[in-house]
């Protein structure tokens, strides 16, 4: 560190002259000047090369028959064999269905609820109440899915959980919510609501804060009530935010949270619980079908990329026209 004191004085004068116009030589001079900066950069670059880009190269095993002792490079190519196997597999339709149903439940229930909660919070003038409720509903976002699942296991525990007893009492039934396949999706949606609706309001509340207050005054003078003001001023005011968030959510549709689904999956509800992410885990990690599961994961990523770019194109169109 002490030695570098010498070259720090130079950078102001040195780069411009560049006596020999050779690109390589100029870079060498530049590099010598900034060697400490490049040295600082090195660990990060190594990190990205090893932990981000090497796995991307590793995706090539989706087109190979991966044999551990032959490695990624040595394993023989098989082309699209794994993809053909996957599409021909009866699992495919089931996984696609399960994934899409969960995705649409999330878009159709959790997403609107987030906006409703934000609108209700926005109507609160008592700032202490608003802040207290916000503080409370943000908390679950910071808890792990393991804790959310554990709480669910306790609350819905057979013959013992408070919610098990309460709901079954009200309905006059005897449902085991944790193992009944029909209750898997409601449970997942409920967890998602509890964990993420509060947190999701942040972005909408920020957008709501930017809505022009003069319009409200004008509307009050025109005799508009609370609901009319929300409908005609507030909602149009955050329309672009809603569209952008919706499009982002569509782009993430296939990313049903692995941890959440995995934790709530059991032998009895597997038929409705299994989605692409958990399938990749079970087939790849527990059964060792590395190439096949990589192909499944790659298929999911490709569909995800199409969704991201498709919705991005849509977003641009919405932004330009500004119309719903």
């Amino acid at each position: 560190m002490t030695a570098s004191a010498v070259d720090v004085k130079a950078p102001e004068q040195a780069p411009p002259p560049a006596p020999a116009p050779g690109r390589r030589r100029r870079f060498a001079v530049h590099f010598a000047h900034y060697k400490w900066l490049y040295l600082l950069l090195l660990p990060g670059v190594v990190y990205f090369a090893v932990f981000r880009y090497a796995p991307m190269y590793g995706v090539s095993i989706a087109f190979k028959d991966y044999v551990p002792f032959l490695g990624v490079n040595g394993s023989p190519w098989v082309g699209f064999q794994h993809f053909e196997d996957f599409f021909a597999n009866p699992d495919f339709g089931r996984l696609l269905g399960n994934t899409l149903i969960l995705a649409f439940l999330s878009l159709g229930i959790v997403f609107p609820l987030t906006i409703v909660l934000a609108l209700l919070l926005n109507e609160v003038r008592l700032s202490i109440l608003k802040r207290t409720v916000q503080t409370l509903v943000y908390i679950p976002h910071f808890l792990s899915w393991t804790i959310v699942a554990s709480l669910s296991f306790l609350l819905f525990a057979l013959d013992f959980g408070p919610l098990f007893l309460f709901i079954n009492n009200v309905l006059g039934t005897d449902i085991d919510f944790l193992s009944d396949p029909a209750w898997f999706r409601p449970l997942i949606v409920l967890q998602e609501i509890w964990k993420n609706t509060g947190w999701g309001t942040i972005i909408f509340l920020a957008a709501l804060a930017t809505v022009d207050q003069d319009q409200y005054e004008a509307a009050i003078i025109d005799g508009a009530g609370r609901f009319r003001r929300v409908w005609h001023i507030t909602l149009p005011g955050i329309r672009s935010t809603i569209i952008v968030m919706l499009i982002l959510a569509i782009g993430q549709m296939l990313n049903t949270g692995f941890e959440q689904i995995y934790l709530m999956t059991n032998a009895l509800n597997r038929s409705v619980a299994e989605v692409f992410d958990t399938y990749v885990y079970f087939v790849g990690i527990t059964q060792g079908a590395y190439s096949y599961s990589t192909a499944v994961g790659l298929f999911k990523s490709l569909v995800g990329i199409v969704l991201i770019f498709g919705t991005n194109a849509l977003a641009k169109r919405f932004n330009q026209s500004g119309l719903f």
Binding site: F51, R52, Y138, I139, G223, D277
Partner: protein, 290 residues
């Protein structure tokens, strides 16, 4: 539907306040129940369907878990991995962000594009798993730390933060003969303390909560983290999915589940006020510049 800001408006306000208070209480209720249950006797938990205050106060569940070697090991492991992981993430992110904040550094644009590309595309679960396996990191705690050592989003936010600091600060330090590393250490880091503290908190929460990495990379159950232990304790054995479960495991009494959940949740709740102070701002910065 024409409701003026008079009677109707007041009714709406009242209903809204009651509803939102209800939402807040409902959010909190599972914690209160679990917290109360962790201090109750086993008999009370089985007898009373729901309670927020135990009739008979008992530390039995905590005495049990804190005398269980597997639990102590998981707790200590998780604390260590969280601390080391947070420090590693901070160091790697800052050392990479600082050079990238220098606009005249050659190769900067290329590296930045590669970072952004890595935000969108990833190798996925299996290729990453095979990499960890080939590196010999299976059943090593480094497998919980290294794969996520730099978050591209925070890297770019911290880079932007460095970039926005006044350039005069650095220039005057250079006049005084400070080195690049010296400028980072003596000038930029003290200035970015609040920002880095925020990121440190978020990193720590992320590592503490991580379930997927230990599930994938730690098959040796003597190395399990708290989240893995928690899952094993709380999922009744007949409901567990396949894979990564200790076959010799005997399910515990209910009260113990409550206590383990409390221990896994408490650190988050303790740090929550500090998180809350910063996250709204942080999230907005992220959404604007991400």
């Amino acid at each position: 539907m024409k409701i003026h800001n008079t009677t109707g408006g007041r009714i709406f306000d009242a209903a809204n306040y009651v509803f939102l208070t209800g939402i807040g209480v409902l959010t909190l209720l599972p914690f209160v129940y679990v917290f109360a249950g962790s201090f109750a006797t086993e008999a009370e938990i089985t007898r009373r369907a729901f309670f927020v205050w135990p009739e008979q106060f008992s530390l039995g569940a905590y005495e049990y878990i804190f005398s269980t070697p597997a639990f102590i090991r998981a707790l200590v492991t998780t604390v260590l991995v969280t601390v080391v992981g947070t420090v590693v993430q901070l160091i790697l992110t800052v050392t990479m962000a600082y050079p990238l904040a220098k606009r005249n550094l050659r190769g900067r644009q290329l590296i930045l594009s590669l970072v952004v590309f890595a935000m969108v595309f990833s190798g996925g679960m299996i290729p990453t798993f095979l990499l960890i396996k080939d590196l010999g990191l299976l059943n090593s705690y480094w497998a919980l730390i290294l794969p996520a050592a730099i978050n591209p989003f925070s890297l770019i936010i911290i880079k932007n933060f460095f970039q926005e600091l006044p350039a005069e600060l650095e220039e005057s330090a250079k006049m005084d003969g400070a080195t690049e590393v010296g400028i980072l250490w003596r000038i930029l880091l003290p200035l970015s303390k609040p920002v880095l503290a925020t990121f440190a908190l978020f990193y720590a929460v992320g590592i503490w909560n991580d379930f997927m990495s230990p599930l994938l990379y730690l098959s040796d159950n003597s190395k399990w983290t708290l989240q893995m232990y928690l899952r094993q304790v709380t999922a009744s054995s007949d409901l567990l999915g396949t894979g990564n479960v200790d076959p010799n495991y005997i399910p515990p009494e209910q009260g113990i589940k409550f206590a383990v959940i409390v221990v896994a949740t408490l650190p988050i709740l303790i740090f929550y006020p500090f998180l809350q102070k910063h996250f709204a701002k942080g999230m907005l910065i992220g959404s604007v510049k991400g």
